[in-house]
């Protein structure tokens, strides 16, 4: 699997670490405990294209949002996490 890092170019997936699905914003304190339980533990666990957080550990050390098909590992768009639309 090759990931096109916006900073470093095409790099082997072994340089990266996957954190998980890019799951939208963290709840606010006022949203209560249940909202946090859902945020921390529940997963959509899609079979198909999903947006994920990857960390370019052995490269520029940026967090990226990578679109990837979880059935075929085909990589779609890659963006820098802060700039990607959540």
């Amino acid at each position: 699997m090759i990931i096109d890092c916006p900073h470093c170019g095409s790099r082997d997936s072994g340089e990266f670490f996957m954190r998980g699905q890019a799951a939208g914003p963290r709840p606010e304190y006022a949203d209560g405990q249940d909202a946090f339980a859902v945020y921390v533990y529940d997963r959509t666990n899609l079979a198909g294209m999903q947006r994920e957080h990857w960390y370019h550990a052995a490269g520029c050390r940026s967090w990226l949002v990578v679109e990837r098909d979880t059935r075929s590992h085909v990589v779609g768009s890659v963006a820098i996490a802060g700039k990607a639309v959540a």
């Binding site: 998980g20 921390v40 533990y41 666990n45």
Partner: protein, 419 residues
Amino acid sequence: MTKRYSLLSLARQAISGHRGWMPAWRDATPRDRYDIVVIGGGGHGLATAYYLAKVFGEKSVAVLEKGWIGGGNAGRNTTIIRSNYLLPGNIPFYEHSLKLWEGLEQDLNYNAMVSQRGIINLFHSDEQRDAHERRGNAMRLHGVDAELLDADAVRKMAPFLDFDNARFPIFGGLRQKRAGTARHDAVVWGFARGASARGVDIIQNCEVTGMVRDASGRVVALDTTRGRIGAGKVGMAVAGNSSRVAALADLRLPIESHVLQAFVSEGLKPVIPGVITFGAGHFYISQSDKGGLVFGGDLDGYKSYAQRGNLPIVEDVCEEAMALMPMIGRARLLRSWGGIMDMTMDGSPIMDRTPVPGLYLNGGWCYGGFKATPASGWCFAHLLSRDEPHPVAASYRLDRFATGRLIDEKGSGPQPNLQ
């Protein structure tokens, strides 16, 4: 209908040229409705059906399998059975399972090649020894066998290990003598035969594609590739596909699917005594009765529904193998493959009712569900038939993540690719 296997039946067949053997179980066509429908014809689904019929007296049970029985993780795992856990929620369950394994072949009248050849978990530092000693003590307090071995004792059993490795010297190991291996396919076929003989319909090439619910939200039928099948209760036992099947009832689970690879070498003369696990990484090995070295290591590191693995893990596993036992470099790798693991957020399974009435979940077995097969079947049958959890599986609640009653053996948190 099903004939008993015995020395006599074997002799009779031998005389008649083995032409009289009958299929071990019945490949059924679906009826309109069953009291209990189990989705998934892996080890857990079939064991559930077997105990539903045998222990809980259920008369109307079906198992629906989208492909062929045993084609999922049941047929892809490295067949290790053990009960060397640390935490109270786990030890009694896995010990119940190991006890069932010990009597399984007599119970099923089927040779599952259960072989209690022992497991040794190696440790490589004083701190790791303390951790293993603690685990051994927890096991013994629960009445499970455990034995702490020093380096010399391990050396006697496995002289080929790299004891004086500069980075990972072997300090000793925690041994569970009653652990071992079993023949994975035979376990599937044995449970299928036992269930089928007691009237369970095993329906293959039957993928569940939808759940039909009544006005109260209760699941009352399943849409499948072989038509609609009515159900009093539905049990999901679909391993790596748990999230996909649960999504048919609009449920989201604390589960992520990851691929785990396994490897087997060419057949060799007996060399590995039992199961050995490396403590300085993630590598474990045993030897099959056919002689192949069977081994594996880490998950691939990212979520996957592809039933094949990546090459970096192949390299990683081989490096760890070389670090532990350099002699393995002479063996040739024959095959490698992958299976989809239902990884939970604390590394322990889930066996519970779901918020959807009539729908029950048995999943989240991570990479350790083969050893659980008999107890998982027994306890899930208990839950389905009596609508209450079996005492040894009562900790495997679906709501434990929200309530904080996690069972996290490794302490790695809700990050499945680190477990």
